[in-house]
């Protein structure tokens, strides 16, 4: 093997096929011919015509391989069967081939053509398995063939073949690392793949071949984040680990403001829980004020999309997410991982072992995180010792002043355990607690002294060692203990303990002047039979006593030194010689003698008892290197946070400027594009999977060729469909035969009208045509016209029209030019949502005055198309228009002539469906031009995001301009604060949404409404009684007022005196259902059902207020 890459280097790795260099390979020749006889029967069976005999022979051969016996001499006989028809024989031949090809390279070449044929097979599974075996044969000579095969497979239509190609990349790389550049090209291509099947494998290849090429990830970052939840478990682990590294290079530290605290772990160490939490809250707040840190939305995306995986059944996935949070999340958010990690402690003991090691490291840095789970680390007598010791480590790390008494009580039970190694570890743990928490030092010391009378020598010895360390901290107060220990020398036999006692006595001989010489006397007697380590301490003790109390100990010392002089161990002889020279004054030894006392009895610093897990966190947690506390081969260093964030725009996947785009072609492009940049991965863990299988199996049955196409389609669909797909699925089951048209919408713009008509005929419901309208609109949205709308929408629609006059008159400042804008957009959306397919009359020309806004809504609808093509139920509706209330953002006076107003235009915000669109109108009332109007420095509550509007370059005096910006309020009514900048000034402004604007209308049928309402009872239901004023007792006004107060759509209702409305919150997509029941007279019941209770409560207030006016 080692020779072969070098060989291909010389040859340029290309035209070396079939050359005889390998002929002299000893393995291939007849060297095993002596074995031939043994396997003669097998060879015969392999040569026979019967598959059953062949199979039998292969089974025996494989059994030989499994047992590790050599079967290489059968190679020629086996290889012949590579093209065997019987699948099992074939598979076993593959097994054999992969095992021995490396040893019999030229014979292996005979099989290559079979695989090459297989690579062209129409069946994707055969193509895949051919590539798999071909790439597993480690024969350097076929490198060019493999390269070619991989390249071809990488653009195969079948995602499964592409996955196999990704698997083949590291194989080829390990065979010939010169191919790296070409392989990187393939990896780059596969990274762009949109299917979940490929993602895990290609990232694995990336990690093995070119982990340093982080730049390849930029463009795929968001996609990977969004796909993550649907990737198979093993792929998830690899992707998460890779993204952790990526994020460390691309984003800023979310804890930069707290870094001061972190640098000072001692301080944090003694801090109790409260202190920790204090750090978190007010500190963070004040620091944010000082130095605003805004988390990159991509950083947030990663954190958000990985979080659900904490609930994976696979411990490796959970650990991967945990380390990602530990390394990347803001301090306040890391806590979520503790629960999941504690859960893993119930798993197999190997898993426990690994998890505990990681918990031990984490608990040093973030103690507060695991404190609530303290008891989960309590030790059972049945735990294996290695687990016990790790748990002990964690308990010790978690100890603080508040919980130390519980922990010590727990330790007390442990000391009586049968497992002596564990008892020893417990004693050390007590010692550590005592050093770390001053309050309990005396208690611990007393406890340890009591242990000195334990019957088990090991326990006593360990206690002595720990006491020695503790005493070193404050020796003067503890001469009693030292005396007690001196007595122990008679009994304790463990050398380490004896040595420790002797050292203590020597070190503090001034505190125990009477006992020390006596101890020395005893030790001198037994000197010859002591262990080396004890002997050395005896010499030390003698020397120290000689210096402090030479009268009593001079002779003893000399006696000991003489004994040592003739010791077997040269260390001891050396030490004796050295000490004699140093302490006994002679003529020769001059200068040093004076300093002997200083040398021996210098103040020695107390040892620090600390965890062996300290500072392990510079290794990526969960990695092998972390576990071994040493760099493993191929370990990728976890980089430090950058000081300055690199350009975040590298991750953008070409977002066209949607505000300006008008031409139809461009718009079409956009339809495809935005879903990675904005879908925010709201898709649940398996939703996308639901919608996918059908399409895959469908295409499967049609032909193998279309599968890749639909595979990628469904991948994207899964993402897009997001929240809706789950309801959709229920729907799907009810409605049979709906897939056809759906697919038509998806794949071909020229969808088959007859099919759709038929569909429509079947379903009288208006949701249906509306949906299809969207589908069909890809071709026909321009021609679409306002056709008669179906009953329920006509209500709201017409009301919208009627109420329209009202707001417009209110809007004094709105210049005439802008008026058509919302109207036009309204038309546009209505056309689409209510489009009747039978009616393909050309649309009236669009008002030309406001292209920007029109296009916005159109793009929106086109996007809605991709959004809804996979979904049927609660379709997001284009909003119902009613009163548009304007709010002032900047008054004319405050703004020095610039006045700014905003209103919620209730349009979906196309670049990001989770944002609320806010239309902002600038009017310049000054004498001069206002330039460079833009947003800067948003100060947002965590999770909130702003999509800024395009900078307005200049605004002429007296002119007005309209822009739209998107804000993700995270379903809260907290204000979004930001600065509005002009070329000369900055204004602090804030937009606070009324609760009714945080939602978007959805359409649902009466039944669905009831069903959803049934689910949202109890806490999620808020009811209020109210009295309707006289003027508000017509259907019309009620509907108008409710829709004015909140962005909801009306749901048809059988009962006369009942009104229903439905909407979804914009960010999380939770349903909000409003029911107004009109009792006799003016009394009415208002009910709001929503999972978001806060929103529900506020909405009840707002709506009842609106009705009461």
């Amino acid at each position: 093997m080692s020779a072969s890459p070098a060989y291909s280097e010389e040859k340029g790795g290309s035209s070396s096929l079939g050359e005889p260099e390998y002929g002299h390979d000893p393995a291939s020749g007849g060297i095993f011919s002596s074995d031939y006889k043994r396997h003669d029967d097998l060879k015969e069976m392999l040569d026979s015509n019967k598959d059953s005999l062949k199979l039998e022979a292969m089974k025996r051969i494989v059994a030989m391989i499994a047992r590790g016996k050599n079967a290489s001499d059968l190679f020629p006989a086996v290889v012949k069967n590579v093209a065997c028809k019987n699948i099992e024989v074939k598979k076993l031949v593959y097994v054999y081939l992969v095992r021995y090809a490396e040893e019999q390279q030229d014979l292996a070449l005979l099989s290559i053509s079979t695989f090459q044929r297989g690579l062209k097979d129409p069946n994707q599974l055969i193509r895949a398995s051919a590539l798999r075996v071909l790439s597993s044969i480690r024969v350097p000579i076929i490198v060019p063939i493999m390269m070619l095969a991989i390249k071809e497979a990488a653009s195969d239509m079948s995602p499964y073949v592409r996955k196999t190609a990704a698997h083949a990349i590291p194989k080829l790389y390990s065979l010939d690392s010169d191919q790296k550049d070409q392989l990187i090209e393939v990896i780059e291509k596969l990274l762009a793949d949109k299917t979940t099947l490929v993602a895990g494998s290609v990232v694995m290849a990336f990690e093995e071949v070119c982990p340093e090429r982080i730049d390849l990830i930029h463009k795929n970052y968001r996609k990977l984040c969004n796909l993550l939840i649907d990737v198979e478990e093993w792929g998830q682990v690899v992707i998460i680990n890779m993204l952790t590294r990526y994020a460390r290079t691309q984003f800023l530290s979310p804890n930069q403001n707290e870094s001061l605290l972190e640098e000072n772990p001692e301080k944090a160490f003694y801090g109790s829980d409260e202190e920790d939490s204090k750090d978190d809250k007010p500190d963070a707040a004040s620091l944010v004020k000082r130095k605003p840190y805004v988390m990159d939305p991509d950083h947030r995306l990663l954190l958000r999309n990985t979080k659900p995986l904490l609930q994976s059944r696979n411990a490796a996935v959970v650990m991967a997410v945990a380390q990602l949070y530990f390394h990347l999340a803001p301090k306040a958010e890391v806590g979520v991982i503790a629960k999941a990690l504690v859960r893993l402690l119930r798993s197999h003991s190997e898993v426990q072992w690994v998890v505990l090691q990681n918990v031990a490291t984490m608990s040093i840095k973030r103690r507060g995180m695991f404190e609530p789970y303290l008891k989960s680390f309590y030790i059972r007598s049945t735990d294996p010792t290695q687990i016990k010791i790790l748990k002990l480590e964690v308990l010790t790390n978690l100890a603080n002043e508040t919980n130390i008494s519980t922990i010590l009580r727990e330790f007390q039970t442990y000391i009586r355990s049968m497992d002596k190694d564990f008892v020893a570890a417990t004693i050390q743990a007590i010692g550590r607690c005592a050093t770390n928490i001053g309050k309990v030092r005396d208690t611990c010391l007393n406890g340890l002294v009591q242990l000195l009378s334990n019957r088990d020598e090991l326990v006593v010895a360990e206690s002595v060692v720990v006491i020695k360390k503790l005493l070193q901290m404050q020796p003067s107060q503890h001469s009693e203990i030292i005396k007690h220990m001196a007595k122990l020398t008679d009994n304790i036999q463990v050398p380490m303990a004896r040595a420790s006692i002797l050292w203590l006595i020597g070190e503090y001989c001034e505190h125990v002047p009477k006992i020390a010489p006596d101890v020395l006397r005893k030790m001198a007697k037994s000197f010859t039979s002591e262990e080396d380590i004890v002997k050395l301490q005896v010499i030390n003790l003698a020397a120290k006593l000689y210096l402090t109390n030479s009268k009593q100990s001079k002779l003893l010392t000399q006696y000991v030194l003489n004994l040592a002089k003739y010791d077997q161990n040269y260390d001891i002889r050396d030490r004796a010689r050295f000490i004699r020279q140093l302490i006994v004054p002679t003529e020769k030894s001059g200068a040093l003698n004076k300093y002997a006392k200083k040398l021996f009895l210098a103040q020695k610093p107390a040892p620090i008892l600390e965890s062996s897990f300290k500072d392990r966190d510079h290794f990526q947690l969960g990695s092998l290197s972390h576990l071994l506390n040493a760099k493993a081969v191929g370990y990728q260093e976890l980089p430090d946070w950058p000081d300055e964030a690199p350009d975040p725009s590298v991750r953008n996947v070409e977002v066209p400027e949607w505000t300006k785009c008008t031409s139809r072609e461009k718009r079409k492009e956009k339809v495809e594009k935005p879903f990675y940049s904005d879908s925010e991965g709201e898709s649940g863990p398996t939703e996308s999977a639901d919608s996918e299988p059908e399409s895959v199996s469908e295409s499967e049955s049609e032909s193998g060729s279309s599968s890749s196409e639909s595979g990628s389609d469904s991948g994207s669909r899964g993402e897009e469909s997001g929240d809706q797909s789950e309801e959709e699925k229920k729907k799907k089951k009810k409605k049979k035969g709906k897939e056809g048209p759906r697919k038509a919408c998806l794949e071909s713009a020229g969808s088959d009208p007859s099919e759709e008509e038929e569909e429509q005929g079947k379903k009288g419901k208006k949701k249906k045509p509306q949906h299809e309208g969207k589908g069909g609109s890809e071709t026909s949205w321009e021609e679409g016209s306002i056709s008669e709308s179906s009953s329920s929408e006509s209500d709201s629609g017409s009301e919208a029209e009627e109420s329209q006059s009202e707001p417009e008159s209110k809007r004094r400042t709105t210049p005439p030019s802008s008026k058509p804008a919302p109207k036009a957009s309204r038309k546009g959306t209505k056309e689409i949502s209510l489009l009747d397919l039978d009616d393909f009359t050309p649309a009236p020309p669009q008002p030309a005055s406001s292209p920007a806004i029109v296009s916005t809504s159109l793009v929106t609808d086109l996007e809605g198309l991709t959004l809804t093509d996979a979904s049927l139920t609660p379709t997001m509706l284009s909003p119902v228009f009613s009163t548009m209330k304007t709010y002032e953002l900047l008054h004319r006076m405050a703004g020095e002539g610039l006045s700014v107003e905003y209103y919620f235009n209730r349009q979906p915000f196309p670049p990001d469906p989770h944002m609320v669109a806010v239309q902002i109108q600038f009017s310049n009332n000054t004498e001069s031009e206002v330039k460079n109007l833009r947003v800067s420095e948003p100060k947002l509550v965590s999770g909130m995001r702003i999509q800024e509007f395009q900078e307005i370059e200049s605004l002429a005096p007296g002119d007005t301009a309209n822009v739209i910006m998107g804000i993700d309020f995270c379903d809260s009514t907290q204000a979004a604060n930001f600065q509005l900048c002009t070329h000369s000034r900055q204004f602090y402004v804030s937009i606070q949404p009324p609760v009714g604007e945080l939602m978007a209308p959805v359409f649902m049928s009466e039944n669905e409404f009831k069903k959803e309402q049934g689910k949202l009872t109890g806490m999620s239901e808020i009811t209020e009684k109210l009295t309707l004023p006289d003027k508000c007792q017509s259907d019309h006004t009620i509907v108008q007022r409710v829709t004015a107060a909140a962005n909801v759509s009306r749901v048809p209702c059988g009962a006369d005196n009942e009104y229903r409305f439905a909407a979804k919150t914009v960010t999380s997509g939770s349903l909000v259902l409003i029911t107004l029941e009109w009792k006799e007279g003016a009394r009415a019941h208002l009910t709001v059902n929503s999972e978001k209770m806060v929103i529900g409560t506020m909405l009840v207030q707002d709506v009842s207020q609106a009705l009461a006016q």
């Binding site: 095992r99 698997h167 682990v237 680990n241 690994v354 989960s376 334990n454 469904s714």
Partner: protein, 418 residues
């Protein structure tokens, strides 16, 4: 990633090896044997061992060591989890994951390992896909095979691998459509000397056996989902739906699988269904001691506590025990020093008691430690946390399935300190 795998039995024989990359010599296992010797106890063999050229990651299951050879950095849990998955698959295929079962089915084992990893990276680990590729052996099939010479390999190509719900086989057909759920809860507890609870929590799982034709889409709802504090899911469960509605919605794999496992946190008070009274003492300067244990039911919600077994690891100095039990039988293993008392069902009228004399080695000092009692028990038809399945709905298929839920509570790691 995973380079090679060696299966080693307790007596140190390597009885199976499989390499996914170049061959690694068996001698690498010597490092493992060394560590095993040092650890003395099988449980204490470190799962990760570093050798000069390789890293060995091992698990211990059913008296077999699965030792994998790693060459480069890889998350250790990744390997450990995978090895356990391998052992689970063997269990699933052969009914047990023992040395004999593996040796008897060595070809199937080899084929399985071949499919599960490609170049050391997991490829197909879902049991439904694997069963499509390689049929599990049954007695009938092996008879048929030996006569007709047909094979265990699936004839059809495994389409499951291509789908996005890899956990479900493509064409499933049953004449009796049934879906069973077992809610199994285990109580982990540490009870201290005085009988008060030091720590208790409930670990639950829902194991399912689902035999439904076609592509059913199930949703399982609970009366009190908020009880579930921390849940981990089978990949088939739609996370979003759980987050928003607390309903388990999924397209199930075919056959037996674990749907969720959950924890009811220690914050909630856990009702401990039994109490234990115990006196275990050793007399100073005499080679005997006293042993008296009584066990009784409490708060068992009207259900009987059955299958009660108490195991005690006695101190090393104990030679023998002379005990009498009012119910059940006891055995004492003088080598391992383990006392096992199999009680069976507890009737509150007459509490089971075991008492007598403990004989110690003469001359040995009185043991310092008191052994702890490990208690096992079972309560049928009760989920101790109070979790209740509300209903199971099926969408997507027309037939009416037969549905059933079974509850059971067991002792998990239930330990009484003395």
């Amino acid at each position: 990633m995973i380079h090679s795998l060696f299966l080693i039995n307790c007596s140190g024989d390597i009885f199976l090896e499989k390499h996914w990359k170049s061959v690694v010599s068996q001698s690498v296992c010597d490092y493992f044997f060394e560590a095993q010797e040092k650890a003395a106890d099988v449980e204490n063999v470190p799962p990760v061992i570093s050798t000069p050229h390789h890293y060995l990651i091992s698990i211990y299951r059913e008296k077999i060591f699965f030792v994998s050879v790693i060459q480069t950095e890889v998350p250790p849990l990744f390997v450990i989890e995978f090895l356990h998955r391998v052992a689970d698959t063997f269990q699933d295929y052969f009914g047990e994951c023992s040395e004999t079962a593996i040796k008897d089915n060595v070809v199937i084992v080899y084929e399985l390992l071949e499919e599960m990893l490609d170049n050391g990276f997991p490829l197909a680990t879902e049991s439904n896909i694997l069963k499509e590729l390689i049929k599990p052996p049954t007695i009938l099939r092996s008879v048929v095979n030996s006569i007709t010479g047909s094979s265990n390999m699936g004839e059809t190509l495994p389409t499951g691998q291509l789908s996005n719900i890899p956990w479900r086989r493509a064409v499933v057909k049953y004449t009796n459509n049934e879906a069973y759920f077992d809610v199994i809860e285990e109580i982990d507890a540490i009870i201290d000397k005085s009988g008060s609870t030091v720590f208790a929590e409930i670990q639950g799982v829902i194991d399912s056996c689902i035999k439904l034709s076609g592509m059913p889409d199930l949703s399982l709802s609970f009366m009190n989902p908020r009880l579930l504090d921390d849940v981990s899911f089978h990949p088939c469960i739609r996370f979003k739906r759980w987050e928003s509605e607390r309903v388990l919605s999924f397209i199930p794999p075919d056959g037996n699988f674990r749907l969720i496992s959950y924890r009811v946190s220690s914050q909630n008070l856990v009702a401990i269904p039994v109490y234990v009274k115990h006196i275990i003492s050793f007399k100073e300067n005499s080679s005997s001691g006293r042993f008296d244990v009584t066990i009784g039911p409490k708060q068992n919600m009207g259900k009987t506590v059955e299958g009660v077994i108490v195991t005690v690891h006695m101190p090393k100095a104990v030679l023998n025990m002379n005990l009498t039990s009012t119910q059940g039988s006891y055995t004492f293993d003088p080598v391992l020093k383990v006392l096992t008392w199999d009680i069976g069902k507890i009737t509150p009228q007459k509490l089971p008691n075991l008492k007598g004399i403990v004989n110690l080695q003469s001359g040995a000092p009185k043991p310092e430690e008191n052994p702890s009692l490990n208690v096992q028990f079972k309560i049928q038809q009760l989920a101790i946390s109070g979790l209740k399945v509300n209903r199971l709905d099926m969408f997507g298929e027309k037939y009416k399935p037969f549905k059933g839920v079974k509850y059971i509570t067991k002792a998990g790691k239930f330990q009484v300190r003395t």
